[in-house]
């Protein structure tokens, strides 16, 4: 039995099932079952030949994963990648949204649409463009940044110190538009009277930014942080496009999912060690969940209630 909000009528379960059922069925089929299957694989249970006590190797794969230096290196790279992306993208997105919000109305959609163009490109296209346009001795990064600063041109993708910053640059390039759009829409929904009061009281533009715009979109900044953290931890296609499925020189750009792919399938290291890869996957998905829960807890502690 269910009860509709705002109505006194009650209904029977079949019609409610029709609404909830498809989501729950798909959730069970493509989320819960693969999760259990992944855990089973990580525990060494063979799902192909039927479960048997002989196949169970307990926590051995998790111990192997935690002792794999390359796995730990890929995790460190991934966390740096996520931290770098968040650290640049959130302030940049907020700044751009505030500047666009300050523009005349007719310019706003044009600026927002131009900004989201990189988000609409396939990560493979972004990688190709990075290689052909930004990268290289005569590429835009060297021509407009390195050489004007009086430095020697950098070979961005072969210098281990610069591979990870290049991946971060690509992620920032890709997501800036959508994050700016979200924060701009948040600013648009701030009640107009707050701006009127600020204007009457002669609040400066910095004061307006700090006391109206930032508190008005704080909940969206946290939402974006959660989204970008999870997306960054499972990021694959950008690094795959730039580094062709490898980790680059000295594995400087080896991200977790790329390594997972190398462990699980031939073509990478050719190990085809699915149980070990599953154990790594379970460990990392747990880290993703932990990070997201930490952000939610932080959000609640700061009293951001929306």
């Amino acid at each position: 039995m269910y009860k509709l909000r705002g109505a006194n009528a009650c209904g029977s379960s079949p019609s409610l099932l029709l609404l909830i059922g498809p989501f729950v069925c798909l959730w069970g089929l493509f989320w819960l079952t693969p999760l259990c299957n992944g855990f089973g694989l990580a525990m060494g249970i063979s799902v192909h030949s039927g479960s048997s006590y002989d196949f169970i190797r307990g926590w051995e794969n998790f111990i192997r994963a935690s002792e794999d230096a390359k796995f730990l290196h890929s995790l460190k790279n991934t966390l740096t990648f996520v931290g770098g992306t968040l650290g640049i993208l959130l302030p940049l997105g907020f700044f751009l949204a505030a500047v666009i919000f300050d523009l005349k109305k007719r310019w706003r959609p044009i600026c927002l649409f131009l900004l989201i163009v990189p988000s609409l490109a396939l990560p493979g296209t972004l990688a190709t463009l990075f290689y052909l346009f930004f990268h290289g001795k005569s590429g835009a990064l060297n021509q407009f940044v390195t050489i004007p600063l009086g430095l020697d041109p950098i070979n961005w993708m072969t210098d281990p110190a610069w591979i990870l910053p290049c991946l971060i640059f690509q992620a920032v390039w890709r997501w800036t538009g959508l994050i700016t759009l979200l924060l701009y829409c948040g600013m648009r929904s701030i009640p107009q009277w707050q701006f009127e009061v600020a204007r009457i009281e002669g609040v400066s533009s910095w004061g307006r930014l700090r006391t109206i715009l930032l508190p008005g979109v704080r909940h969206l900044i946290f939402f974006s942080a959660i989204f970008l953290t999870i997306d960054g931890l499972v990021s694959f296609s950008g690094a795959y496009g730039l580094l062709g499925g490898s980790g680059g020189v000295a594995d400087a750009g080896l991200l977790f999912v790329t390594y997972l792919y190398q462990v699980a399938f031939p073509g990478g290291s050719g190990r085809m060690d699915l149980p070990l890869a599953s154990a790594m996957s379970v460990l990392t998905a747990s880290i993703a969940t932990f990070c997201a829960l930490f952000l939610i807890r932080l959000r609640n502690r700061l009293g951001i209630d929306q």
């Binding site: 989320w31 396939l122 290289g136 835009a140």
Partner: protein, 268 residues
């Protein structure tokens, strides 16, 4: 002064965001030698040889790849919108005992992402005989946790009086849900477009689940840029340009509705 500086910074970011794509479009008419001089914007001639090569079928059947990606992303976006909006309506407007549980299920999909367990999804789908199945891949992404939370928020803003009205007219629960659909059409368009975008760009699951001859656009692009095939680079750029057209059209046509939906329904 501050305003002037911040607007200059915006202009610079806009240039970094959009200029490479103008370069990409023009470079799809260039030879390899011209492409490796990124300072040059215009090609020596506008010969569409790369587009001819792309559709000649010598490297990949690009028309088929485009059709497959459209079918997969369009189908998944439509199904996800229907499934998630129905669940979101139930969570926002119907009182039932398992409501907190369904909300937690949706939250779990967000917190424990499907991409992180791609290997087990692949293994599980192989066990179900769905390896190489486009329909299986389409189904696997239709339960979006973000979608359910999004539509719960959207339906939460619909006045309860409208539900009363629908019930007085004798509509069933499903009928009430479908009556409200036109009211939330900007939100439906927004979610469908965003889901389409994410599915369109998905690389790993199609790589694992589909067979070698069932390429989607991300897979085709990585094959075209594989140097071992010695394909002119303009062909990869042409494919990149063509792969953006459906999304530019979709977002261009629904951009106003998206901004309205995000401002009025979701983020407020």
């Amino acid at each position: 002064m501050t305003r002037w500086l911040s607007r200059s910074a915006l202009l610079l970011v806009l240039l970094i965001a959009a200029y490479p794509f103008i370069w990409c479009l023009l470079s799809s008419f260039k030879s390899n030698r011209e492409i490796h001089q990124p300072g040059n914007l215009l090609p020596s001639s506008f010969d569409p040889f790369a587009y001819r090569l792309l559709f000649s079928g010598d490297f990949i059947d690009f028309g088929e790849v485009l059709g497959r990606s459209l079918l997969l992303s369009g189908g998944q976006a439509l199904l996800a919108t229907l499934v998630c909006s129905a669940a979101g309506f139930a969570l926002a407007k119907v009182g039932f005992r398992a409501k907190p549980l369904v909300f937690v299920l949706a939250l779990l999909v967000i917190l424990y992402p499907r991409q992180a367990m791609s290997l087990s999804v692949f293994d599980w789908m192989s066990d179900m005989g769905m390896s190489g199945s486009l329909f299986g891949l389409l189904l696997s992404g239709a339960a979006s946790g973000l979608g359910v939370i999004f539509f719960t928020q959207v339906f939460g803003k619909v006045p309860d009086e409208l539900i009363d009205l629908a019930r007085i007219e004798g509509r069933s629960l499903g009928g009430t849900f479908f009556t409200l659909i036109p009211l939330i059409s900007p939100a439906l368009t927004t979610f469908a477009a965003l889901h389409f975008l994410l599915c369109w760009q998905d690389h790993l699951l199609p790589l694992l689940i589909l067979s070698h001859d069932q390429l989607t656009l991300p897979l085709a692009l990585s094959r075209l840029s594989d140097s071992s095939f010695r394909i002119p680079q303009a062909v990869g750029l042409a494919a990149g340009v063509l792969s953006m057209i459906p999304l530019l059209l979709l977002f261009g046509l629904s951009f106003r509705r998206m901004r309205t939906a995000l401002s009025e329904w979701v983020v407020s």
